[in-house]
């Protein structure tokens, strides 16, 4: 076990963190600069962490949804001269009904097709007047579904039909969403690492500024762990308080984003849903843990270096 973590008495530390006042809290003089620095950096990092977490969760949801849709259905587009459209559609439906691994094909009614086109043509466009292809939604029901085989059958038996299994345009999106989720997680780790660095620097500054206090404490019989705990307690509290404020501000910011809707796409989905709102509440806990370990490491290392 490393020297810095030897003698770790978590129970005593927990009691120390929870107990208010007393000489233990006061043996280190209050230092405005490092106190404000720690509070501010913990708050700012927690604020950023909330958005990184929201990004990771939203992109995760998006990737999952796109991936499941990718695997869940295919679309068949039937485009034939106006007099042959119905016959071509029937032929395609016939092929699809007998495709192994496929569910019941569903011809999209005209109003549904109009709804799909509305974002491009507007709600008042007379879709009936346009040579719009028929769209057939084919759910994938079994693992024996063979998209390539179906494509060949359609070419042979219903040449006006084209199979669109969404793969070409959705797979890169799923990959991008997964990478965005990974970036969100990496951002969270970087934020934690940056917080640890800042708290370590602030703790070291406080230790250096209190060299005389540390000397006095040692002369009267204080162990290194006692001295370190005084600093650890202070910085852990500051990290937790700063992160709580930052997290609440971040959550408020997320709550003020527009609600998710289909037209808004990805951006309006950038938020928390359901139990996801509980996850940011872990940020102050993690910040306190980061403050605890960073300060403890810095304090014991510095105290160990000076006899």
């Amino acid at each position: 076990m490393r020297a810095d973590f030897r003698g770790l008495n978590l129970r005593a530390l927990w009691q120390g963190l929870m107990r208010d006042g007393g000489s233990g809290d006061r043996i280190v003089p209050p230092t405005g600069f490092t106190a404000h620095l720690t509070l501010f950096s913990a708050g700012a990092m927690a604020f950023l962490a909330v958005f990184a977490l929201a990004l990771a969760l939203a992109t995760g949801r998006l990737a999952d949804r796109w991936a499941s849709e990718l695997a869940g259905s295919v679309t068949v587009r039937v485009s034939a001269p106006s007099g042959e459209q119905d016959a071509a559609t029937r032929a395609a439906m016939q092929v699809l009904s007998t495709t192994p691994g496929a569910g019941q094909p569903r011809l999209l009614p005209a109003d549904e097709v109009a709804g799909l086109l509305a974002p491009w043509f507007g709600p008042d466009m007379p879709v009936d007047a346009l040579p719009v292809p028929s769209l057939i939604d084919l759910p994938i029901a079994g693992e024996d579904f063979d998209a390539e085989g179906l494509r060949l059958r359609l070419e042979a038996e219903a040449p006006a039909a084209t199979l669109d299994d969404h793969t070409e345009w959705r797979r890169p999106l799923v990959t991008a969403a997964n990478r965005l989720r990974m970036l969100g997680i990496v951002s969270l780790l970087l934020i934690a690492a940056a917080s640890a660095s800042m708290i370590t620097l602030a703790a070291k500054a406080a230790l250096a500024a209190n060299g005389q206090v540390i000397r006095v404490l040692r002369l009267i019989g204080a162990r290194d762990i006692t001295i370190a705990t005084a600093f650890v307690r202070r910085f852990t509290k500051r990290a937790a308080v700063g992160a709580t404020v930052g997290t609440l501000c971040g959550m408020a910011g997320i709550a003020m984003l527009p609600g998710m809707n289909a037209a808004g796409g990805f951006l309006t989905g950038l938020g928390f849903q359901g139990w996801g709102w509980l996850l940011p509440l872990l940020i102050p806990v993690v910040a306190a843990a980061v403050g605890f370990f960073a300060t403890r490491w810095a304090a014991l290392k510095m105290l160990g270096a000076v006899r």
């Binding site: 007393g22 000489s23 404490l217 009267i220 019989g221 204080a222 006692t226 160990g304």
Partner: protein, 221 residues
């Protein structure tokens, strides 16, 4: 200590071949000219410095073998009145005096603390901040802090160095009371008059340090 030698930063030995045993319950003086090594010898006694040669043993422990926690434990058994008193200036006198209890995880008995402050005559300065105290008051507060853990050995490094005669006598009276209560006391001072005045009240052993060596002082002291 046996055949103890010490030199700062690996330089020439300030103390050499020193052999000394403090007799339990005895009042000791350590005297010698300025720069002779009185403070250094005291710092060796509470492991603030470690000897470069020889052996230092306190309470059955070889000080060179002590861990960091072991040194902290030793300092809880050795009360020290430092020349420069060493207070935490952001804490009031009472909290400074009670600090050894706090850092060793012991509860503070407020009544005992009041009694202790009364013993050193600082009851009315309990809430005062250390910088506001006079030199004599600071030394008495330092003595109170040194004895709050009821140590076996009390060391005082020039405790009267900055005090007038009356205040010096008053402080020595407290140290004599401590010794009479069974504590072993070692006081470093260059004030021979103070030593003589103290010896009139208590049997004291006087050690003289000069040119790096330690000798028992003659009958003139």
């Amino acid at each position: 200590m046996r055949d103890v030698g010490f030199g700062y930063h690996g330089g020439a030995e300030l103390l050499s071949n020193m052999t000394l045993t403090l007799q339990p319950g005895m009042f000791h003086f350590l005297t010698g000219p300025s720069g002779s090594g009185k403070t250094t010898l005291l710092r060796l006694c509470y492991a603030d410095l470690l000897p470069t040669s020889g052996q230092m043993v306190a309470f059955g422990e070889d000080l060179r073998q002590l861990t960091r926690d072991g040194i902290a434990d030793l300092r809880r058994r050795v009360g020290v009145v430092h020349q420069d008193t060493q207070f935490l200036d952001h804490l009031p006198v009472a909290e400074n005096v009670a600090l050894p209890l706090s850092v060793s995880g012991q509860p503070v008995d407020m009544e005992a603390l009041r009694d202790l402050l009364g013993w050193v005559g600082l009851t009315h300065h309990a809430r005062a901040m250390p910088p506001s105290l006079s030199g004599g008051e600071r030394q008495r507060a330092a003595l109170a802090r040194a004895v709050i853990l009821s140590p076996d050995l009390v060391l005082a490094d020039e405790p009267t160095g900055n005090l007038d005669w009356d205040m010096s006598v008053r402080l020595m009276q407290l140290l004599i009371e401590l010794n009479k209560s069974g504590k072993t006391v070692l006081v470093a001072t260059h004030d021979l008059n103070l030593i003589r005045a103290t010896k009139a009240q208590v049997a004291a052993r006087v050690l003289r340090i000069a040119n790096g060596t330690l000798n028992l002082a003659g009958a003139d002291l």
